[in-house]
């Protein structure tokens, strides 16, 4: 009974670490998660949080190790456990091991790419980019809204000296006509087309670019400038909530959903380089859009399992009632209470992920970043950011909900 009851809650240690991160203390959160012991069914949540918190704290090797462990676990969890399925059939979905939504599996790759880029290891980042493509190919429609991750994939290929592979991804991004490819995407695609000597493609992209953005990209190409790429993870993705559907007065179906109304405000970014204001092309993904689509993608399977559980619970209660009516009522009550939606999720994820491209001449620069979100304004000073001609320097930032802009990473 205690075991069943404990299946209905996220382990306290994970909640505590999440609170610490929201409070702006990534190091304390990491310490909390370091020695945490959680039930095996919640182990993936622990590893995902540990990986992301370590990334936010600028501890990229620790982050890589945690995410690699999460990968191994996901591989093992792809085997359907008959024991877990059996328990979940009479208790609830929280009795099963958490497997991660498709969006979450993609964002492991996103943060791994950032980890390797931050460590100045583009080859490792390109490995993660290839893995990201596997996830994107498995869930093409659900994950289509994550332009930032695919843009990062293309940039990883370029950083690893594989511009032709990058061109394929730029083409996919530029072809996303349903919402219209943002100028930041078209700009990067245009630069790639020019650098890989594909003039026709570059001309076609130029026609879709705003004049100011095109002029700036032309200047970058002609002056052989480099680029500062700021990757900004802002806010927190909202937790899933539990909904109830009553089949009868004593029989209900509990299901997870994301609340409507929270869309993750896109942060406004202002950049000053060596005291001068700089324009930047920003591309943003609202993670909640992708997370919601990923949950909906799984909706049919959740519904099928819930239906099977309702039937099983009804039959259990009914057969006990035939033996002993009072015992039957107690069983019915117990099964009613145990019916809980599986609202577990990777809650340290940001609400939005923005990628800003700032063209800069080769050399070292002092960069001031101001981020305005719905909850406040954060400022950070990045000293001596090294930029190389024709190359990108990646900086990963996470303004915490309360506290100063956390300077998460900077490559050599």
């Amino acid at each position: 009974m205690a075991s069943f009851a404990s299946a209905c809650a996220t382990p306290g240690v994970i909640d505590r670490a999440r609170g610490q991160l929201r409070g702006g203390d990534a190091n304390a959160a990491l310490e909390t998660l370091a020695d945490a012991d959680v039930p095996s069914r919640d182990r993936l949540l622990l590893l995902l949080d540990r990986g992301l918190v370590a990334h936010a704290a600028g501890r990229h090797r620790d982050s890589i190790a945690a995410f690699a462990e999460a990968d191994d676990l996901i591989e093992r969890l792809d085997i359907v456990s008959l024991r877990e399925q059996g328990v979940a059939l009479v208790v609830n979905d929280r009795a099963r091991s958490y497997r991660g939504e498709s969006g979450e599996r993609l964002w492991i790759r996103t943060f791994q790419m950032l980890n390797y880029l931050s460590l100045g290891e583009p080859e490792g980042a390109a490995v993660e980019a290839r893995r990201a493509l596997v996830v994107l190919d498995e869930h093409p429609e659900t994950l289509a809204a994550d332009a930032v991750t695919r843009l990062l994939v293309a940039m990883c290929f370029e950083a690893a000296g594989q511009p032709e592979s990058a061109a394929v991804e730029y083409r996919k991004l530029a072809a996303a006509t349903s919402t219209g490819a943002p100028p930041g995407v078209l700009r990067a695609a245009w630069l790639n087309a020019r650098r890989t000597a594909r003039p026709d493609e570059a001309d076609a992209l130029a026609k879709r670019l705003p004049e100011t953005v095109l002029a700036e990209a032309r200047r970058e190409l002609e002056a052989r400038d480099g680029e500062l790429v700021l990757v900004l993870a802002a806010g927190f993705v909202p937790p899933k909530r539990a909904g109830d559907l009553f089949v009868s007065a004593d029989l209900r179906i509990a299901f997870p959903y994301y609340p409507v109304g929270f869309d993750g405000r896109v942060p406004a970014l202002a950049v000053r380089v060596d005291g001068e204001p700089r324009t930047s092309s920003v591309v943003t993904t609202r993670l909640i859009d992708v997370a919601r689509a990923a949950l909906e993608e799984r909706g049919a399977r959740i519904a099928a399992r819930q239906t099977a559980r309702v039937v099983a619970k009804y039959n259990i209660a009914h057969s006990v009632s035939r033996q002993d009516e009072l015992a039957g009522e107690l069983v019915r009550l117990l099964l009613f209470v145990l019916e809980q939606a599986d609202t577990r999720g990777w809650e340290t994820l940001p609400a939005t992920l923005s990628l800003a491209q700032v063209p800069l001449p080769e050399g070292e620069h002092d960069v001031d970043v101001t981020v305005s979100t719905g909850t406040g304004t954060w400022r950070a000073r990045l000293d001596d950011v090294a930029v190389r001609a024709g190359r990108r320097t990646f900086v990963s930032l996470r303004p915490d909900v309360a506290g100063e802009l956390r300077y998460a990473a900077r490559p050599d």
Partner: protein
């Protein structure tokens, strides 16, 4: 409770009819239980054993030490059998520029180049520059000329070897997973291709190139306990 009565009665009746069988069953049950416990505990026990590095062992479709060995053997024997590179007067001097990892796995390709270099050095047909130690060599030389080391013990400057060739390569992979559908096993197909090339520093010509291909399929059940 009435439902259990007939069973209890039946058991007692059987015992009465065949009084000699009861102790026999007990005697047989003990070894069976012992054997079952032995098998269960033995199956769960942790074991460690030494594996012959020459043997080919694959746990899944991913790259492993057996693949590295196969790649190194195939490429070094190909290079050593190439007459054109051997015809250069004296032993050719090679500098390695590593193998680019273009797979979906975090593979330390430095291990491949190290093993190839070792095989070629041991063949006695090639000489190698230690590019990885270049900065350390410079530091050590600077130290010797900083006044701490007597002049007669200092290494002579300007005596380092110049490379004749650059050895470089690329490791690629193509991975295909079985599409999601009703199935009992999950299959994965992985194809690896390792290309190694020798570039003449004088002319920029590609003096030698070869590749090794490995394709493997793995299958694992998708239902377990």
């Amino acid at each position: 409770m009435p439902a259990s009565l007939p069973v209890r009665d039946a058991t007692s009746r059987r015992s009465l009819r065949h009084p000699a069988r009861r102790p026999t069953r007990h005697r047989a049950a003990a070894p069976v239980a012992f054997l079952a416990a032995f098998l269960v505990l033995g199956g769960c026990a942790a074991t460690t054993r030494t594996i012959d590095p020459e043997s080919e062992v694959h746990y899944d479709a991913s790259y492993d030490f057996s693949d590295k060995k196969e790649i190194v053997e195939a490429l070094t024997s190909s290079l050593l059998a190439t007459p054109r590179v051997q015809q250069v007067s004296g032993k050719p001097v090679i500098v390695t520029y590593g193998v680019a990892n273009q797979t979906s796995e975090h593979i330390d390709t430095g291990g491949i180049t190290d093993a190839i270099r070792l095989e070629l050095i041991q063949s006695g047909q090639y000489r190698f520059l230690n590019r990885r130690q270049r900065d350390n060599v410079l530091d050590e030389t600077d130290y010797q000329y900083a006044g701490f080391v007597p002049p007669e013990q200092r290494v002579a400057e300007g005596r380092q070897l110049g490379a004749d060739y650059i050895l470089s390569g690329t490791l690629r992979s193509i991975e295909k997973r079985q599409p999601r559908q009703w199935r009992l096993n999950k299959r994965k197909l992985v194809y690896y291709s390792m290309t190694l090339e020798l570039t003449d520093l004088q002319t920029g010509e590609l003096s030698w190139a070869d590749d090794v291909e490995i394709a493997r399929e793995s299958s694992q059940p998708i239902i377990g306990w």
